[in-house]
């Protein structure tokens, strides 16, 4: 085909045959068309100059490396859970729920730590308003490294809100054994307080230990609030290691919410403590 003929065809059709474009030599693009060309060298240069940034935030990366969840960053807000949590709740698997997870109250029998710490030197230690009758009837209390007792007993009184219940409503008894194979016994009725077992010597080298359960029956009027527990340690005035088991009841209808401990003789004491609620 002659060039004249091609020109005539172009004019008559108003378009260039596709075959003519696909075979167009790039070198023939000149003038304004040449400005639109992207030379291969420019493509290579652009690829070499690009640097991938580090990702920052809760999920990070080094350059274009793998994105990783930062340590110690995922909190409750990040989780896809079917409900809103309440303090003390546990995360449970529920495959049919949104996210497959649901916040739920502790199952029956679970020991839920309510409070723990080190009690600074004080005459009275009041544990107030930790009782929740909707969740717990029983509580387990641990005292360790009890220091400050000078051959004196640690005494217990229930507390209602902030009021220490000091009326003569405590019936108590304890019984234990000493390393000399001798028994140690005491008891009392209508006392203003109840001893947590035998007197102990709570020095740094002979710290005393206590473990007891509180049963809180809010609907009871007679001995519904009661305690059973143990204490143990070395009593230097007797020269014996010993333990005692103790029990007492509080013969009154108060809705108790906590308790006070203080040393016989008002010694200032320190100790580590932990209180667990036992889920109903």
């Amino acid at each position: 085909m002659t060039k004249a003929r091609q020109l005539a065809d172009l004019i008559s059709s108003g378009s260039i045959e596709t075959a003519e474009i696909t075979s167009l030599d790039a070198a023939k693009l000149t003038g304004n068309i040449a400005d639109a060309r992207v030379p291969a060298s420019a493509v290579t240069q652009h690829a070499n100059n690009y640097t991938h940034p580090n990702h920052s935030g809760e999920v990070t990366s080094t350059a274009d490396g793998a994105t990783v969840i930062t340590d110690n960053i995922v909190d409750e807000a990040n989780l896809k859970v079917s409900n809103t949590p309440t303090n003390g709740y546990m995360l449970t698997a529920q495959s049919g729920n949104t996210g497959g997870l649901t916040w739920a109250d502790a199952p029956s029998g679970t020991h839920v730590k309510l409070v723990s710490g080190s009690a600074s030197s004080s005459v009275n230690h009041d544990f107030q308003n930790f009782m929740d009758t909707s969740k717990y009837n029983s509580y387990m209390v641990q005292f360790s490294k009890v220091i400050g007792l000078a051959s004196n007993a640690l005494h217990f009184q229930f507390v209602a809100n902030t009021t220490v219940l000091t009326n003569s409503n405590y019936w108590w008894a304890f019984h234990g054994h000493r390393s000399t194979n001798n028994e140690i016994v005491n008891y009392g009725e209508q006392s203003a307080q109840a001893p947590l077992g035998s007197a102990m010597v709570g020095s740094s080298g002979n710290a005393a230990n206590y473990l007891f359960h509180i049963y809180n029956n809010p609907n009871s009027t007679n001995m519904g609030n009661n305690v059973y527990g143990h204490n143990w340690g070395y009593r230097s005035d007797l020269g014996d290691y010993l333990f005692t088991d103790y029990a007492f009841g509080f013969n009154n209808s108060h809705n108790v919410t906590g308790f006070r401990v203080h040393a016989e003789g008002n010694d200032a004491t320190t100790f580590d403590y932990a209180i667990y609620g036992i889920a109903k």
């Binding site: 009690a119 009275n124 009041d126 020269g239 003789g265």
Partner: protein, 110 residues
């Protein structure tokens, strides 16, 4: 020296200084307790005495002859409250060495 109440709640711990009537009562109770120090020491002495008397009760069995020195020692133990009537004497009876052993000779079985 200041005295304190330690108030421990789920929300946190507060240490409150004891003042006014509560402090007055606390000091009165403490004084009353201290005034009974001799009685408590005597109770410990009686407990220690009882321990030792029980340890040698078997000499009283009909088929055993109690040695005279044990008879004398047991009587000395029984007489402890009568022969030791003040806190200084009680402290001497309750004295212990660094290993926690009672040092007064009355506690040693002959």
């Amino acid at each position: 020296m200041a005295e304190y109440n330690n108030i421990i709640r789920l929300e946190g711990v507060t240490r409150v200084e004891i003042t006014g009537e509560e402090l007055t009562k606390l000091e009165a109770d403490r004084t009353a307790f201290a005034n009974k120090s001799s009685e408590r020491k005597l109770e410990v002495i009686k407990q220690l005495r009882l321990d030792r008397l029980k340890e040698t009760d078997w000499y009283s069995n009909s088929d055993v002859t109690m040695p005279d020195n044990v008879k004398t020692w047991r009587q000395t133990l029984r007489d402890l409250p009568a022969n030791h009537s003040n806190e200084t004497a009680y402290d001497a009876l309750l004295a212990r060495d660094k290993d926690g052993n009672l040092t007064h000779s009355v506690w040693s079985k002959p």
